[in-house]
């Protein structure tokens, strides 16, 4: 492999990239915008406790909770509605009192109160809810009573690991930054075909293997440098930095594979835009869904970008180690190779 030829091509493509106002501007503006977005978002959580209550046959007492305790309570008429509200993260916690609570108390039994927690509820909430339930029982009966409490977490259990919203956005923003380069790379490749410059290149000592290697290096470089810069600025490398850097690099390889795939699907710039948008939107789905644990539907997990999203998310927010996410890396490399091979083979046939 002739490094001199490859470097010459990379330099040429960088020149063309910086002179393509659209891609250059969205790259720079995008990077700056995502960094600003991160810092504009709150770094602390809202202290108001939203609480769902299912208390059949009991007087309505949410008004007595609201005023001075920082609690926003809502009564639900069915247990299913209550559970669904917690599942959907509308309420971080909810309590369900038994239907015959008063009867049980009257007969000296110990009523069982179920407390539901959303996946993202903080650890401190458990203690608060216990005190609250006792208070509710007092409000309902007018006397201090003993209750038996059982708790259930709806969705993945993240209690005690509450993460500020801006940190939850890190994987999504990282993937948006990298994903933009799918279009940039596909455009650089497609333009060579559309303007027929590839023919001029291929009657020089330069061969297709040099051309594809140069494009791949450029694609990986553009995506990797930007996302790395972003992660450094927002502190995304604070945990397992080497594993994170490796993950971002493999993510950039995945982006490059997709860039080749889009370029091979498109016949011209219009095709690049169309196919690029489709692929990019699909690519972003896991990133958008992955911001909230439990929100992502099962089918989205087959998308290659799910592995990137989950890897970044778990590394940056949930203290995962290389061992925990190495499977994601392998799957991403597999997808990258598949996309790149399909793209390069198709483009190779077209270039000839």
């Amino acid at each position: 492999m002739n490094a001199h030829l490859i470097m010459t091509l990379i330099k040429k493509d960088l020149t063309l990239f910086t002179r393509n106002r659209f891609y250059f501007i969205i790259t720079i503006v995008g990077l700056v915008m995502y960094i600003l977005m991160y810092f504009v978002m709150p770094k602390t959580m809202d202290e108001t406790l939203k609480l769902g209550i299912y208390a059949p046959g009991m007087p309505s007492f949410e008004n007595s909770l609201v005023s001075d305790r920082g609690i926003e309570a809502k009564s639900f008429t069915t247990l299913e509605e209550l559970r669904e509200a917690v599942m959907q993260n509308e309420y971080p916690a909810a309590i369900a009192l038994p239907e015959d609570m008063l009867t049980q108390l009257a007969t000296g039994q110990k009523p069982v109160v179920t407390v539901y927690f959303a996946a993202s509820a903080p650890e401190e909430m458990k203690g608060a809810i216990t005190a609250l339930v006792n208070q509710l029982a007092y409000l309902a009966t007018g006397q201090a009573i003993l209750l038996e409490m059982q708790s259930e977490v709806l969705g993945p259990d993240l209690i005690g690991a509450q993460i500020p919203w801006r940190d939850r956005f890190i994987p999504m923003m990282a993937i948006l930054i990298m994903g933009t380069e799918i279009l940039s790379l596909a455009s650089l490749i497609s333009t060579e075909v559309e303007q027929n410059t590839v023919r001029a290149l291929l009657v020089t000592p330069l061969k297709l293997r040099h051309l594809f290697t140069a494009k791949a290096i450029l694609g990986i470089g553009l995506a990797f440098i930007q996302v790395l810069l972003f992660m450094i600025v927002v502190g995304g490398l604070s945990q397992e930095p080497l594993t994170m850097i490796l993950g971002l690099f493999i993510g950039s390889v995945l982006i490059t594979g997709l860039g080749f795939l889009v370029a091979s699907l498109a016949r011209d710039m219009m095709g690049v835009t169309t196919w690029g948008m489709i692929v990019t939107i699909i690519f972003f789905i896991p990133a958008l869904g992955g911001m909230i644990p439990g929100m992502l539907s099962g089918w989205a997990k087959v998308l290659p970008s799910y592995h990137l999203t989950d890897a970044i998310s778990r590394l940056s927010n949930y203290g995962a180690s290389f061992h925990d996410i190495s499977g994601h890396f392998l799957i991403m490399l597999g997808w990258s190779a598949a996309f790149a091979v399909i793209g390069i083979m198709t483009l190779g046939r077209r270039y000839r």
């Binding site: 001199h4 030829l5 010459t8 040429k12 020149t15 063309l16 002179r19 393509n20 303007q195 027929n196 410059t197 023919r199 001029a200 290149l201 291929l202 009657v203 020089t204 000592p205 330069l206 061969k207 000839r352």
Partner: protein, 287 residues
């Protein structure tokens, strides 16, 4: 060195079931300018693409500078220059950047882009982006790009298309200078006048086959008819008569014209390559 620069033997090329080039054979000597003439679809571009390595050799044999293109195309390409018919330049780069890019690809150590651009009449516009160039300027830059590596063989596909007469003439002079430098030129063109003036030999290509290959002079002698165009005045109106030369009755016809008519002008007329192409192939070069 007496070895021919280009040797082609029984070259054929198919696009699927369509036979684009049909067992053609020819040789081009070093420092020769060979004109490859033919209408659209005759197989000119396919031949060029095969010889320059843009298409894989399917059938036959071809050597350039003594190297087999089936085996050594990469080495051959390092020593050839190609000017494409349609501009395929990096439009967002300057003319100088375009040339310097290709100079680096050819690993030219001491390359003077300014001097080359001056040669093709683009001095003063070296740092303009190609997107801002006119069609003629782009064409001149295409020619300049093919000269970047001081190639031993130049493949020039319609190099003067779209140029004004002055620019076209400067490019023709440049081609002649390249030949003087030592380059062999393979020129495809529709311009019969250009082929006549520039080419040492011309090949007529028709339906994938070489219908004829010789010097323009020999072809004219072999197929052409010399004639005289005589302008006479009758009742105040000018009329034209064409008298074919080299026939037994030519002198008698001319004598009669001079004795009976009022001859205003007499011009000699030579057969053009266009006429000869029509005679040889039964088709016109340009539609």
């Amino acid at each position: 060195m007496t070895q021919d620069a280009i040797v082609v033997e029984n070259l054929s090329y198919h696009y699927g079931k369509i036979l684009a080039v049909d067992h053609i054979s020819f040789r081009v000597a070093r420092q020769e300018i060979l004109g490859f003439l033919g209408p659209n679809g005759a197989g000119k571009s396919t031949t060029v693409k095969v010889l320059t390595g843009q298409l894989r050799l399917q059938e036959g044999h071809a050597t350039l500078l003594g190297m087999d293109i089936a085996q050594d195309i990469e080495r051959v390409q390092a020593r050839m220059g190609v000017c494409f018919e349609q501009p395929n330049l990096y439009e967002q780069m300057t003319a100088l950047e375009n040339l310097e890019l290709f100079a680096r690809l050819f690993d030219m150590k001491s390359f003077d882009g300014y001097a080359l651009l001056k040669k093709v009449g683009l001095e003063g516009r070296e740092k303009d982006r190609v997107a801002n160039y006119s069609k003629g300027m782009k064409q001149r830059l295409m020619v300049a790009r093919s000269l970047v590596n001081q190639a031993e063989i130049l493949f020039l596909d319609e190099p003067t298309t779209g140029l004004d007469p002055v620019s076209a003439d400067s490019i023709r002079n440049l081609i002649l200078k390249e030949r003087e430098r030592g380059a062999t030129v393979f020129l495809t063109t529709h311009d019969m006048w250009e082929a006549d003036k520039l080419c040492d030999r011309v090949a007529f290509l028709n339906q994938g086959k070489i219908a004829s290959l010789d010097t323009p002079h020999t072809l004219k002698q072999q197929y052409g008819q010399r004639s005289l165009v005589v302008e006479i005045s009758r009742n105040g109106q000018l009329e034209e008569r064409t008298v074919t030369l080299d026939k037994p009755e030519t002198s008698e016809t001319m004598r009669e014209l001079f004795s009976r008519e009022k001859v205003v002008t007499v011009h000699s007329q030579e057969a053009t390559l266009e006429d000869i192409f029509l005679k040889v192939t039964g088709r016109r070069l340009t539609l």
